[in-house]
């Protein structure tokens, strides 16, 4: 336990908004990653001023402060590796302004993505990044992570929707970044620097986001492939042919088998399924795009092609993909679904090769891995299915992760497309960004000289992710 005065923090946020019971600390020491560490106290500010006062208290005392939204990060971004204060921002959840004339919305960081979209829907507009966790993910967390989702191929990642923000710095100063306009050319784009900074540079306390019209028409298609390579070629051609698409999703045979095992959806026993979608305001335009994608799939030996504009039918077609995550959790008795090397991005032309490589790496390292993802944005998801109670499996997983990222770098890909770096992916991130690590450290030092903002993450995270923190599982030492 560090030298933190819970009493002082209670005076800042109110007694009912600070906790230091061991059970609460244990809960806040975990997220959706494999990591676990104990914070010293959890506080729940409701105002910018409270956030400033917390920082003014923590900074001179060198107490780490870890901002936390839903705690749904998969790489340990919110795990307090050095202890300290968890700043739970979920109660700062007001939508401050919906400006239809100038097409932006101002929100507090704890606003949940889906809640924002529910508020925008009556105006026929939406905030588009849509990560899979949008039902609980907070805007602050999405920005800190630079999240994205299935439709990012058309609408971009969170960084493409952020116009500006208010940030509380390590010393408690409040700064305004960005603008309310669509374009800005006023020197350093520090708001962009904050996007994806994982709470290491400042606490985002307000965001100005742009929104876009809800498309009137949306058409989803599906194609099956006997060869993964054929699906890969289809992806490459779709993405290089100038088609304006809103989604392109791949499921490999492990993913298909997992869904069939769990849900009996009767997906065909093929090597790959592609799901593609176009949307827009004019049906004719959407028709053109989906038909072109269908033709390309056919050309690459795609079969079982279906198209639908109907919302219910689209839900049916997409249900297999939607149910993939729970299905993977039940793939094999005693195995769990871990997010380790889980969201790399590779050039479109390398997607099929990446998927094949994932299977090879899994085989030689005694784990099960699946390949699926948002091919439209070059994002390949994998999950490592393993027995987390066996020590040797962690060594297997470590080797598999290492080999995956070696391949990713060899083809010009990048470590993370949307889940962020945190702790789990830091070793690969450091190898990928080795030339800029010192620059990152210099930036961090300039903005947070006492290194209190989410320390021990990104470039400062340990080199061995397995031993970086206690693992959330109980690992038995008797071997495989």
């Amino acid at each position: 336990m560090g030298l933190v005065s819970v009493q002082t923090l209670k005076e800042i946020v109110g007694a009912e908004n600070a906790k230091d019971d061991k059970a609460d600390l244990y809960v806040y020491g975990s997220d959706s990653s494999v990591h676990q560490a104990m914070p010293w106290v959890v506080v729940r500010p409701h105002t910018i001023e409270e956030v400033q006062n917390i920082m003014r208290y923590a900074n001179p005392r060198l107490i780490p402060v870890i901002a936390r939204g839903a705690g749904s990060g998969m790489s340990g971004q919110a795990v307090p590796i050095k202890g300290g204060i968890i700043m739970d921002l979920k109660k700062m959840n007001k939508i401050l302004e919906i400006n239809l004339e100038d097409t932006f919305v101002r929100v507090e960081p704890g606003v949940v993505d889906d809640d924002l979209n529910r508020a925008l829907k009556p105006h026929n507009v939406f905030y588009p990044p849509a990560p899979a966790s949008s039902r609980i993910a907070t805007i602050g967390g999405e920005i800190a992570n630079n999240a994205s989702g299935v439709r990012s191929v058309k609408y971009g990642a969170v960084r493409d929707s952020v116009l500006g923000m208010k940030v509380v710095m390590a010393n408690g100063d409040l700064i305004h970044l960005g603008a309310k306009t669509r374009v800005e050319a006023t020197g350093y784009q520090i708001d962009r620097l904050m996007v994806g900074s994982e709470g290491t540079l400042g606490i985002i306390v307000e965001a100005t986001l742009k929104f876009v019209p809800i498309p009137k028409y949306r058409c989803l298609g599906i194609a099956k492939f006997n060869k993964l390579g054929d699906a890969g070629n289809a992806i490459s051609e779709i993405m290089s042919s100038g088609i304006i698409l809103s989604m392109l999703e791949l499921m490999d045979n492990i993913a298909i088998k997992a869904v069939n095992q769990a849900l009996d959806l009767g997906l065909p026993d093929v090597e790959a399924i592609l799901m593609f979608e176009a949307d827009g305001m004019a049906k004719e335009g959407v028709d053109v795009e989906v038909k072109r994608m269908m033709e390309i799939c056919k050309k690459h030996k795609g079969f079982g092609l279906e198209l639908s504009y109907d919302a219910k039918e689209r839900t049916r077609i997409f249900s297999g993909r939607k149910k993939l995550f729970p299905s993977l959790s039940r793939y094999k008795e005693g195995y769990v679904c871990t997010s380790l090397a889980d969201d790399m991005a590779v050039p479109y032309s390398k997607m099929a090769e990446m998927a094949k490589m994932i299977h090879e790496i899994a085989k030689r390292n005694n784990v099960i891995m699946t390949a699926y993802g948002h091919c439209g944005s070059g994002c390949m998801h994998t999950k490592i299915l393993m027995d987390p109670t066996k020590e040797a499996q962690w060594e297997d997983a470590k080797r598999a992760v290492f080999e995956i990222y070696n391949f990713v770098r060899s083809v010009g890909g990048t470590t993370s497309a949307e889940h962020g770096i945190g702790i789990s992916k830091a070793p690969a991130f450091k190898r990928e960004k080795h030339e800029s690590l010192e620059l990152m450290r210099a930036l961090k030092k300039a903005l947070d000289p006492n290194n209190i903002l989410n320390p021990g993450k990104l470039m400062d995270a340990p080199d061995d992710w397995v031993t970086a923190t206690k693992l959330r599982y109980t690992v038995k030492l008797e071997g495989k």
Partner: protein, 355 residues
């Protein structure tokens, strides 16, 4: 803490990917807002107790008893984890470790002494047909209403038979008293006229619980029986011309996957249904389940008030539901909020339509 029952759930606790999707609809999390209040937080605490990283405390017990077993988390779970089963197991370990409230003991004592949750000698209305009907404690206590519900079945052609029933034991199970549950289970089975014969169950909580904990018994939900028989009676129903909103009980919508049938019944009796923003499988819990009424009645009351406020906003004159416990909890909340809406069991409305 010596753990016994939770050991069986270690694999499930590992399978939980801690995605936090369970935050979305958890009534307790929405009300209290700390992560320990949501299902993920509770499961993490349970894991800590299992591994010994956490020791039990009054605070932990308070948090683990603040769950309504509403299954909203199960509905939204990324990994299909049965949170109520895990809560049941850890509560049993907590019970064995001495973490049981006086209010819990008071309730279970009443059942032990009288066979029902009220601790009084209750008279079951006498119907002497051939089809056994289990009313459940809450309905037995409302003798007049019980007679109405039995009359509904009679009018639909069921020759009902009541019996001197004893509690199904659900309170023991959700409060962690395994031994007490076993004893009550035996008493419950003893009172059934024929344990091999199908019986109709009028209480939503009882029927859901019996199906889960008494796999050999054949409990048929009263709504299933009514829906099957109603086509022959349709022309005789009086249109009530009322505006209602319907509260989906957790055990009905999420537990038994029954969303359309109650709405169909409302249509048949000429009730205009105005839905609350959350309904069907996404319906918010009223706070009456999981023993919350005896573990934290203030919280149960707050959750019910929230639900009633949603109902009032619809502009409906009647808030109808099917679960007698929901009905009880919602009625109390309506009274507290100044009686701006009337709470009625859907079976009462159906009875009115038949008369």
């Amino acid at each position: 803490m010596k753990v016994k029952y939770i050991k069986d759930w270690e694999n499930e606790l590992n399978i939980c990917i801690r995605c936090a999707y369970c935050f979305e609809g958890c009534p307790v999390f929405k009300e209290l807002g700390w992560e320990i209040d949501g299902a993920r937080g509770k499961l993490i605490v349970v894991y800590g107790l299992l591994t010994g990283e956490l020791e039990p405390s009054e605070y932990i017990a308070e948090k683990l008893f603040q769950c309504t077993f509403c299954r909203d988390c199960v509905e939204r779970c990324s990994a299909d984890i049965s949170v109520p089963d895990i809560m049941g197991a850890i509560r049993a370990d907590l019970f064995d470790a001495g973490y049981s409230y006086d209010s819990h003991k008071e309730l279970t004592k009443k059942i032990e002494n009288s066979g029902n949750i009220f601790g009084n000698e209750l008279k079951v209305p006498v119907f002497e047909g051939d089809k056994a009907v289990l009313l459940g404690c809450r309905l037995v206590e409302r003798k007049e209403d019980s007679e109405k519900y039995l009359t509904i079945l009679e009018k639909l052609g069921v020759k009902t038979k009541t019996f001197n029933e004893s509690c199904c034991g659900m309170p023991f199970a959700v409060l962690g008293d395994k031994k007490g549950f076993k004893t009550q289970q035996d008493k419950f089975i003893e009172t059934l006229p024929d344990k091999n014969e199908e019986f109709i169950c009028a209480c939503t909580t009882c029927v859901f619980f019996i199906r889960a904990k008494y796999p050999d018994l054949k409990a048929k939900y009263i709504i299933d029986e009514i829906v099957e028989r109603l086509p022959d009676y349709k022309g005789k129903l009086k249109k009530l011309n009322i505006k209602v909103t319907y509260h989906d009980p957790c055990n009905v919508a999420r537990g038994m996957d029954m969303v359309d049938e109650p709405r169909m019944l409302l249509k048949e009796i000429g009730a205009e249904l105005i839905e609350m923003p959350t309904n069907g499988k996404q319906a918010e819990c009223c706070g009456g389940g999981g023993g919350l009424l005896v573990s934290d009645d203030k919280l149960a009351e707050k959750l019910a008030e929230k639900r009633v406020e949603q109902a009032i906003k619809t502009g409906a004159e009647i808030l109808t539901t099917l679960c007698p416990t929901c009905e009880f909890n919602l009625k109390n909340a309506v009274e507290k909020l100044g009686g701006k809406i009337e709470v009625k069991n859907l079976l009462d409305l159906l009875y009115e339509s038949m008369m």
